[in-house]
Subunit: 262 residues, 2 copies
Amino acid sequence: MSPLSTGVLGALDPTSDRAVFRQIADQLREAIDKGRFREGEKLPSEAELVEHYGVSRMTVRNSFSILQGEGLVHSEHGRGVFVRPRPPVRRLASDRFARRHREQGKSAFLVEADTVGSHPEVDSLQVKEERATPDVSARLGSVRRVLVRRRRYLLDGRPVEFATSYLPLDIARDTPIAQPNPGPGGIYRRLEELGHRLDHFEEEIKARMPSPDEVATLRLAAGVPVIHLIRTAYDTEGRAVEVCDTVMAADAYVLSYRLPAT
Amino acid sequence: MSPLSTGVLGALDPTSDRAVFRQIADQLREAIDKGRFREGEKLPSEAELVEHYGVSRMTVRNSFSILQGEGLVHSEHGRGVFVRPRPPVRRLASDRFARRHREQGKSAFLVEADTVGSHPEVDSLQVKEERATPDVSARLGSVRRVLVRRRRYLLDGRPVEFATSYLPLDIARDTPIAQPNPGPGGIYRRLEELGHRLDHFEEEIKARMPSPDEVATLRLAAGVPVIHLIRTAYDTEGRAVEVCDTVMAADAYVLSYRLPAT
DNA sequence: AAGTGGTCTAGACCACCTA
DNA sequence: AGGTGGTCTAGACCACTTG
């Protein structure tokens, strides 16, 4: 409630063509960018900004709404509007499916979380048989029914990724892959034990805004896109043996790939 | 103005806890998802929805604002609110930097656009020397000054990507790379001619909402994230010879990568 | 109890587009 | 000219958080 909390903000330019609520958003954005408001810090309240700029409350709220859409701030009912902190980031390296990693006991997700000191969890585990969607069927080579494995990954209690694997029934039915816990090394190691020696993976990446479902599942803040990754695993005979559809909170990931120049 | 244009929409549930503007957004979203409103089609006007639901205009506008944030619709001043059409997508394959492509005459962007029948353009070309930012310097191995090449790529008149390349001065100064048009095969081919045989590239990918600058440069619609890609090129001696920082309209791209399983 | 953001109303004037 | 969205006001009541 300090009268100085708006001290870093300037005045409006009444001669400008730019809408008032955009000018206010511009000033707040600049203040955030310049570090005048730090991560996690509370911005001036709506009432203070109404007072400072001499505008109506809806105008101030429109400004906040812009910044929220840009993912710069988030609001907490009854508490205030805060500069959104950057969450810890999960880096996915291009060697993450190397056989040497599979040959260790734990799954890639758990191993990696340990090395960065985060607490990993997997929940919403679901394994069942379903009819293949046209897209999955096309990727797996005209398969009718598939084994589906869904699971959600969390780091330090925060959901970061929701993944769904699809495997042809003739490969996966009545194998450890159809168990909720497929055992050490994960399903890729089981596939190799079943004689499907893995050759390579193909990953397709898109980014988009989340659906309301995805907002709920990943507990996404406003202004956070998702990375939608579809990976297909091929064995040495050129057969697609798994499709994995993954939706990731974009603010929690950096993907990295190595490309040959030859 | 047809009284039937809201025919696909239901009634509000006054007993629901869900805010009215969210209920309206839900109904519109569902209608769009089910194809009751097609791509590019106009939604009922604000006035019609005010009439249909018996709410105030601001409430209807809040609903539209949700859908806009999700990238589902876009508004045109004086015309209406429309279902946002999905633009044509540019697919980037993981072999896009293979030497065989460099050895052809044209740049990758132009070749590829031709094959999908789009009209490619490059503008805002800018070449100059600058001090390296800390991040670029770290990636290039403690380089102080760099040659900077900026350019914007367009497909069929639509900006889709804005790229900035950084090269160490000792490599690029007084070479064709410092020319606005570096010649056939692009700067990667020039680098090889200068004795820097390329070994591999590393790409780092993030997704996030665009800054206001990026919205302007790429003419992004509301609710469209950007893919931020940073590529580093390494020569056979392990030296980083170029860093390319690229911001792409996420709705215009699918990236694809091949990962080894070994 | 006081302060905060969340929702909603009922107006107003403007700029833009189509006809 | 009439319809459309863009901006803005001045209220109101509510739900949530904090002291």
